[in-house]
């Protein structure tokens, strides 16, 4: 497999939203890793909005589009709302002719910035009500998978953590 296809995921929080940029070619393993990280991210950060940015994905297998759809439903069960952004024609093809009921569960927006903006009313309301007990940290990177730019020292730890996490998720059988 090409090196490029294993592009990295860097989930972070921006303006009270969990931002999930997905890039490159998706396979089953990567998709399930992404799903785990999103759900863990929502749980850990208690955000009310999730932006899944697909601008780095040119083509997607319908099966994986289905997992994104399912993930949005899970996010909804966790009490947050999802906006899909940056959908390219190749991805739109896999999302149409399907049973994905995205209107009910999630919305779409052109760009990631528009997606964050769309979620602001939700995030703001939540901020007010939880002002005292929890502060929404902006631009905090909560999870970063090995981007290939790090030095060897950090990598091992990250990979182990991730494997532990995935093993844990497997046990829970979240799918």
């Amino acid at each position: 497999m090409e090196e490029k296809s294993l592009s990295d995921l860097s989930i972070h929080i921006s303006e009270g939203c969990l931002v999930v940029p997905i890039q490159g070619e998706i396979d089953d393993e990567r998709m399930s890793k992404i799903q785990c990280q999103i759900l863990k991210g929502v749980e850990d950060s208690k955000v009310k909005g999730v932006v899944i940015d697909l601008s780095g994905v040119r083509i997607i297998e319908p099966y994986h589009a289905g997992i994104i759809d399912k993930t949005a439903k899970m996010i909804s069960l966790l009490g947050a709302k999802t906006v899909l952004t940056g959908i390219k024609p190749g991805v739109a093809i896999a999302l149409t002719d399907s049973n994905f009921d995205f209107k009910e569960i999630y919305e779409t927006a052109g760009t990631f910035e528009e997606g964050v903006k769309k979620l602001q009313p939700l995030v703001r309301v939540e901020e007010k009500s939880e002002e005292a007990e929890e502060e929404v940290e902006k631009n905090e990177v909560i999870e970063e998978v090995d981007t290939g730019e790090e030095t060897g020292d950090g990598e091992d730890g990250n990979v182990e953590d991730e494997e532990d996490f995935l093993a844990e998720q497997d046990e829970k059988d979240i799918d």
Binding site: I59, E61, Y63, G66, G90, I93, T96
Partner: protein, 129 residues
């Protein structure tokens, strides 16, 4: 004038990716527009994913002729009990996550299913426009 240009065994998940990628590049080489290359690749993803899900193994054969490209997905699985029902919108046996056979059909110009208890052959054709 029909010429076989690809034959890919479908045994595991990675083969779905390989089939999609290789067929997309063949479609590009033949001269399909980008949007049609993507339609073909998406349909192939769905059909080969079905092979893994329902039949565990099979193969995809790609033929070209002057008018376009023919994708034949065949397996020796249990077959589709009710082909008409399988082509209804929203039909799914295993709560599957794809676009279904109907989705794959919409992406192609011609779509034929032959299925019995010894296996399934789906022949799909996309015209070069």
């Amino acid at each position: 004038m029909k010429e076989e240009i690809l034959r890919i065994p479908i045994n595991k998940e990675i083969d779905v990716l390989i089939a999609r990628r290789e067929i997309k590049s063949e479609a590009e080489r033949i001269g399909f527009r980008w949007i049609d290359q993507t339609r073909i690749a998406t349909a192939v993803s769905e059909l080969t994913r079905n092979i893994i899900k329902h039949a565990y193994r099979g193969e995809v054969v790609v033929n070209k002729d002057d008018g376009g490209i023919e994708i034949i997905c065949q397996d020796e699985g249990p077959g589709i009990p009710d082909v008409e029902q399988a082509l209804e919108k929203g039909f799914s046996t295993t709560n599957s996550l794809g676009i279904g056979l109907i989705g794959a059909k919409h992406l192609m110009d011609d779509f034929k299913i032959e299925s019995n208890d010894r296996g399934t052959t789906i022949t799909a054709y996309k015209k070069l426009k």
